[in-house]
């Protein structure tokens, strides 16, 4: 007999595994395509290119593997399926589904540019590989945050018996899921440009490496704001007979934070990517360019700060 709660429960599991596998599949395809193209450009550096490709493919699959862990946790026979628990677990689908799909595709971008860069500069492959590994592992940060929130949701969902608490868990998943979309795109664009710039001018390595650390940290600041809101929402104790206005305020806070990070994430990523391109062209002006880029990104991130403020006010005065 098919009941709604079972439909929702297994739908959640299918959704997260399906979307993250789709993302990882597209990403692995893009990376392999670029590697084959790079080998056809420089056949003698085939060993270095395939080494970079294998490390890249292993990291592209991080999101899919973490989702597999969550899916196995949800499929375990101890999970008691009721309607409220299934609605709460839809938060996991929001958190890991959206993030995993995007991160799978986006973490292939640095691999693509890195294999082209190795084909261009075969004797510099160690440093290009280092930069690719660094950028790619920082791109995985949203997935780790979403995984964290998903685990907390899956532990709390087993003891949820009323609707307000189920909606609270759904909101927190929605917040981190929507909130990591924009900054993930920004991180991907920046990583692509960083590896491309290194292939363009290998003398800029000593400048691009520290710039990558700072820029990716600043681009992912909006994700950290949405993680904060998610953690605040998830730790609110709600009574079973909660006022519906409170629940609407929570949904509004999640959507506000989620869409508030979309623009700043992409804009900050594009700013940093352009700055990285300029640094690759003129490494001698590193100090000036990086400071200008930092100031611009700081101002862009302050608009994510307003979303954070409004979301916090919505939660406090609910």
């Amino acid at each position: 007999m098919i009941t709604q709660e079972f439909l929702l429960h297994y739908g959640n599991i299918g959704f997260i595994v399906g979307t993250t596998s789709l993302g990882a599949g597209i990403g692995a395809g893009l990376a392999s395509y670029s590697a084959v193209k790079a080998i056809s450009r420089a056949p003698s550096s085939q060993q270095d290119i395939s080494k970079a490709l294998f490390i890249g493919l292993a990291l592209i699959e991080t999101a899919a593997i973490l989702t597999l862990v969550v899916a196995l946790l949800l499929l375990s026979p101890q999970v008691h399926v009721i309607m409220e628990g299934s609605i709460a677990r839809a938060g996991i689908a929001c958190a890991l589904g959206f993030t995993g799909l995007l991160i799978g595709i986006l973490s292939a971008f640095p691999v693509q540019q890195a294999v082209y860069a190795i084909a261009r500069q075969p004797f510099f492959s160690t440093h290009i590989l280092n930069l690719m590994l660094l950028t790619q592992s920082i791109i995985q940060t949203p997935v780790i945050f979403a995984f964290l929130i998903s685990l907390i949701i899956s532990f709390q969902a087993s003891s949820v018996t009323n609707m307000p608490n189920a909606l609270r868990l759904l909101c927190s998943g929605l917040c981190i899921g929507l909130g990591s979309l924009g900054p993930s795109i920004g991180l991907g664009l920046f990583a692509q440009q960083a590896c491309k710039g290194l292939g363009f001018n290998r003398l800029s390595y000593n400048n691009i490496l520290p710039f990558t650390f700072i820029s990716q940290a600043i681009i992912e600041t909006p994700i950290i704001f949405s993680l904060l809101i998610s953690l605040v929402i998830i730790s609110l104790p709600l009574a079973p007979t909660e006022n519906p206005a409170t629940l609407i305020a929570l949904v509004a806070a999640a959507v506000c934070m989620g869409f508030g990070t979309l623009g700043p994430g992409i804009a900050s990523g594009k700013t940093a990517a352009q700055a990285c391109k300029t640094i690759a062209e003129h490494p001698e002006h590193y100090s000036l360019i990086s400071k200008a880029s930092m100031l611009g990104q700081g101002l862009i991130d302050s608009s994510a700060g307003y979303a954070l403020l409004i979301a916090l006010l919505l939660i406090i005065f609910r």
């Binding site: 973490l66 862990v69 660094l134 592992s137 920082i138 940060t141 780790i144 945050f145 995984f147 964290l148 685990l151 907390i152 532990f155 709390q156 000593n206 400048n207 520290p210 650390f213 700072i214 990716q216 940290a217 600043i218 992912e220 600041t221 950290i224 704001f225 993680l227 904060l228 953690l231 998830i234 730790s235 590193y286 100090s287 000036l288 990086s290 400071k291 200008a292 930092m294 100031l295 700081g298 101002l299 991130d301 302050s302 700060g305 307003y306 954070l308 403020l309």
Partner: protein, 247 residues
């Protein structure tokens, strides 16, 4: 949040004798002991390095010199000119956070940076050092005037942008280290059931891969990001004093 924290952490109330029962005055015993272990390891490391540093041609001497020179170059590149006090603050923060992230390689010891208290304290230290540098360079009037740039309407916006730095720095470190610690603990918990799985994990090298990625690599990246962000904020604070505006 609660399901993770209350189950694993043990709290101690130092004021219970006087009948004060405030949840904000509780002390996390595990965090305290883990921080002491980290500090003990760091102090022991200082004595070992100092012992070998005065011997000619020792490996430790070369490693220490390479480490400090890399950071000196970085400081010079970011600040424009080398300056001793920002350099020492940044190296100190980096070493402490790195040791905090790597301390979980010792069995039964957990990372102090897994708790928000530690990371918040570190972010507050970095933030107020930056404020101190700004006030020292431009004076208290110039510091307050910066909040009114470019128009006075921007005051609330500037204040939010200013203090969100503490939030972003502390939560970045906390989220990454906490996430990594949970992933490693889930992996170890999955293996703990049977001896066959444990030997398989040891022989296939999956243990080493997961530990080296989530503890060593991620811990190094987060420590370096924290130090670099502090250095960049210091660079911006110093630069506003000399030139006024970025051109």
């Amino acid at each position: 949040m609660e399901s993770f924290e209350t189950s694993s952490a043990h709290y101690w109330n130092p004021f219970s004798y006087w009948g004060i029962d405030n949840p904000y005055l509780l002390i996390n015993k595990e965090l305290l002991i883990n921080t002491w272990i980290t500090m003990g390891v760091l102090i022991a490391l200082v004595f070992i390095v100092r012992f070998f540093f005065y011997r000619k041609n020792s490996l430790v001497r070369f490693m220490l010199i390479a480490f400090l020179e890399a950071f000196m170059d970085l400081t010079q590149q970011t600040l424009g000119s080398f300056s001793y006090y920002p350099f020492s603050v940044v190296v100190c923060l980096f070493t402490f956070i790195l040791m905090c992230n790597w301390i979980s390689l010792i069995p039964y010891v957990e990372e102090p940076t897994k708790y928000l208290n530690t990371t918040l304290a570190l972010a507050i230290v970095a933030f107020f050092y930056k404020e101190y540098i700004t006030i020292k360079n431009v004076g208290i009037g110039g510091y307050l005037k910066e909040f009114l740039q470019p128009f006075f309407i921007m005051l609330p916006i500037n204040i939010i942008g200013h203090f969100s730095k503490i939030v972003s720095m502390s939560f970045r470190l906390f989220g990454n280290i906490f996430g990594g610690a949970i992933i490693t603990s889930i992996y170890m918990g999955a293996l703990a059931g049977s001896i066959a799985l444990e030997t398989l994990g040891l022989i296939s090298g999956l243990n080493i891969v997961i530990t080296s990625f989530f503890v060593i690599f991620e811990g190094f990246i987060q420590a370096f990001v924290f130090a670099m962000l502090t250095l960049t904020y210091l660079a911006i604070a110093m630069q506003t004093s000399h030139e006024g505006m970025v051109d």
